[in-house]
């Protein structure tokens, strides 16, 4: 048996062991994500292909509507690639948001019967969405091969932007899931956020078409910064990043994540009583 662990439980005491516990339960992240992925495509005929079909079809629609019909500019690269470079982080963010926000309520039986750091539940649903993200990344590679598009050195910065997308999804997810435990209204609010978000974020079009005096305001949407970052890294020299806007987006992502964790930690103790 391992070392002697001494534990003190007291009212209102924020546990010192929390982050240590999180580390101790690290395998649970993996198992919960693994469960969600396994379960997701059980009893489906084409299985994991769903992770490819959905973003692909959305990309086709956006290319036709914004690229062909509305003839919006494409930052000098094939329109499908430009759309898909944004589609990836957006799908990741929106899936993570919807799954994370329902994750605690969906696992109510676990919460009222077993102890583990509750943060694991929303975090592993973000991880699940991240797996989908990686799978649909294959489409991007395919598109690049099809259009013979070779990214430049900036592609190596992509992991940084993936990290930012992760932080944004996590921050917003934590807020929404904690709120959803108490106010089930958020079950209805989240689909709205996701639906509107698709149009107010620069997914189907380039953010350069936003008039410059509105751009700073536009960047209050944290996904604007994330998507611009993705485009900057993937599309190469043609794509320019709007620095002030990007910084604002990053500040908002950071604020979202930090306050999300704080709010989650604060309400976490009463989850078992409220859920």
């Amino acid at each position: 048996m391992s070392e002697e662990i001494s534990l003190i439980i007291e009212a209102g005491r924020t546990e010192k062991h929390y982050w240590l516990d999180l580390w101790r339960y690290r395998e649970l992240f993996y198992f919960l994500a693994w469960r969600d992925i396994l379960v997701r495509y059980k009893q489906t005929v084409i299985g994991i292909a769903w992770a490819l079909i959905r973003p692909f079809l959305t990309m086709v629609v956006f290319t036709v509507v914004f690229g062909k019909l509305a003839k919006l500019p494409s930052e000098g690269v094939p329109y499908p690639i430009m759309v898909f470079a944004a589609m990836l982080p957006w799908q990741f963010f929106s899936n993570a948001l919807s799954e994370a926000s329902n994750s605690l309520v969906g696992n109510a039986n676990l919460i009222s019967k077993v102890y583990f750091p509750r943060l694991i539940i929303p975090a592993s649903s973000v991880i699940t969405s991240f797996v989908d993200f990686l799978i649909s990344g294959v489409i991007l590679v395919g598109l690049m091969a099809w259009y013979r598009f070779v990214p430049d050195w900036r592609i190596i910065t992509l992991p940084l932007f993936i990290g930012i997308a992760f932080a944004a999804a996590m921050g917003a997810g934590l807020w929404l899931t904690a709120l959803n435990v108490k106010y089930r209204d958020f079950r209805y609010i989240v689909p709205f956020i996701v639906q509107f978000g698709l149009y107010i974020s620069p997914v189907g079009f380039s953010s350069s078409i936003v008039p410059s005096r509105w751009r700073l305001l536009y960047s209050l949407n944290p996904m604007v910064g994330v998507i611009d970052g993705f485009r900057w890294a993937i599309l190469g020299s043609e794509s320019k990043i709007y620095l002030p806007g990007f910084i604002i987006s990053m500040v908002i992502v950071a604020a979202l994540l930090i306050t999300g964790i704080m709010y989650f930690r604060k309400t976490e103790k009463s989850f078992a009583d409220v859920i």
Binding site: L28, V114, K269
Partner: protein
């Protein structure tokens, strides 16, 4: 070793309970509707105090109040008490699922709690997958689960169905698998809540054996159960909780007897209204009180009839009977005053008549009871299925009857052995 592993100081847990309506969770809709309503009320009748229409009253409810105790390493401790005494809340606080309102707990060592069998099982996943998932949720590492995998499968007896989704399992298989995973945890402190209530008698025995083994290995076990037999066999010490307070703590035998005595004082009254009633109406059986509550196999039972004869006229001579049937309605036996040579004269007003049975030799289970009051062969008041008696496991002379095995009536007996083997002569 006798050092303290769990130390609980003045622990309290308060819940807010609301009377009236209210759903389990707050919806913004309700909050807003409420605001609008009170605004409307104020506009319509501006002079009435807003206090006059409270929406719901909140009340503090202490599930645990000033509970203190210590548990030493290697102790197996039973926690008993009636429903709502705070047992489960105590376990929840100890396993960190919910936070105490006041007080302090010190725990040394890794805790694993088993408050429900099969927590986190996913119906779509196979038995194999669920072993890993459930193990991880209960705090095992992947390596640990791999090491014990065969043992778990063995214990659960489900080799053949390892790759079948558990949604297709029979409920028995499901429970066996779930307990098997939990039983192979290796915590220093194991907290178990009434999980033995499921599964058949043989499996329960297996589980109890496993828990005894855990205790023998020097680990601490906290065990909640309503099954006194299990508590007595498994635990040296016990804690009796009563509406959030510790009523007794100490050696199991003392605590359990205190609990059973306490139980006897609580009433178990039946108002025979819902049964089918016939009779000439000269008198009524108003109620029948059965004590103790709950009834236990082979323990004494008392039936107390309250009879009302408001009808004025001549006094009547009645006899009383209790007929016991199985839950399915098969007649079993009767307890009849006339067999004992007793009849009773009923004067106008109320009368109380008692019947005592020294040893109620009925196996655990549910039984329908008819009550009969007659004058000669004429029914004065006859109620069929007046009550459903619940009989719980109890001790006979030295053995225990935990299960009827389909034969509800027990006949006490004595047993002897004569050895005829040759080595007896030496």
């Amino acid at each position: 070793m006798s050092d303290t592993v769990i130390k609980v100081d003045n622990l309290s847990k308060k819940y807010l309970i609301s009377h009236q309506q209210t759903e389990r969770y707050v919806a913004l809709r309700d909050v807003m509707a409420d605001k609008a309503k009170s605004l409307g009320r104020r506009v319509l009748s501006p002079f009435r105090s807003s206090l006059s229409a409270p929406r719901s009253t909140l009340e503090d409810f202490f599930a645990l109040k000033d509970v203190s105790f210590e548990i030493k390493r290697g102790d197996r401790v039973g926690i008993i008490g009636r429903n709502g005494a705070g047992k489960s809340t105590l376990l929840k606080v100890l396993s960190r699922i919910t936070e105490p309102t006041t007080g302090r707990i010190e725990i040394k060592g890794r805790v694993a709690s088993l408050l429900e069998v099969g927590t986190g099982f996913h119906p779509e996943l196979t038995g194999r997958e669920n072993i890993f998932l459930n193990g991880a949720i209960l705090g095992m590492t992947k390596a640990e689960i791999k090491r014990k995998f065969d043992e778990i499968v063995d214990f659960a007896e489900i080799e053949k169905f390892l790759d079948t989704p558990v949604k297709r399992y029979s409920s028995g298989m499901y429970v066996r698998l779930a307990f098997a995973v939990a039983a192979h945890l290796e915590p220093e402190i194991l907290i178990v809540d009434e999980v033995l209530a499921v599964g058949d008698a043989q499996f329960q025995k297996k589980c109890l054996g496993k828990m005894e083994e855990v205790g023998r290995e020097g680990r601490t076990v906290l065990f909640v159960s309503h099954n006194m037999g299990a508590i007595i066999t498994l635990c040296e010490y016990s804690i009796l909780l009563n509406s959030g307070f510790i009523e007794a703590i100490g050696l199991t035998s003392n605590v359990v007897s205190k609990y059973t005595i306490g139980e006897q004082q609580t009433e178990n009254t039946f108002l025979p209204e819902r049964g089918k009633r016939t009779g000439d109406g000269r008198a009524y059986i108003e109620k029948v009180k059965v004590s103790p509550n709950p009834l236990r196999t082979a323990e004494p039972v008392e039936f107390e009839f309250t009879i009302d004869r408001s009808h004025d006229g001549r006094d009547i001579q009645v006899e009383l009977a209790i007929a016991v049937k199985t839950e399915a309605g098969t007649p079993l036996f009767q307890i009849y005053s006339q067999h004992m040579g007793r009849t009773f004269l009923l004067r106008q007003g109320k009368t109380i008549i008692n019947a005592k049975v020294d040893n109620f030799y009925l196996a655990p289970g549910n039984y329908w009871v008819n009550v009969w009051m007659g004058a000669g062969d004429e029914p004065v008041d006859w109620i069929q299925n007046a009550m459903l008696l619940q009989v719980e496991p109890g001790f006979l002379v030295a053995g225990q009857c935990a299960d009827s095995r389909g034969y509800p009536v027990i006949v006490p007996s004595s047993w002897d052995k004569i050895d005829l083997s040759p080595d007896f002569l030496e």
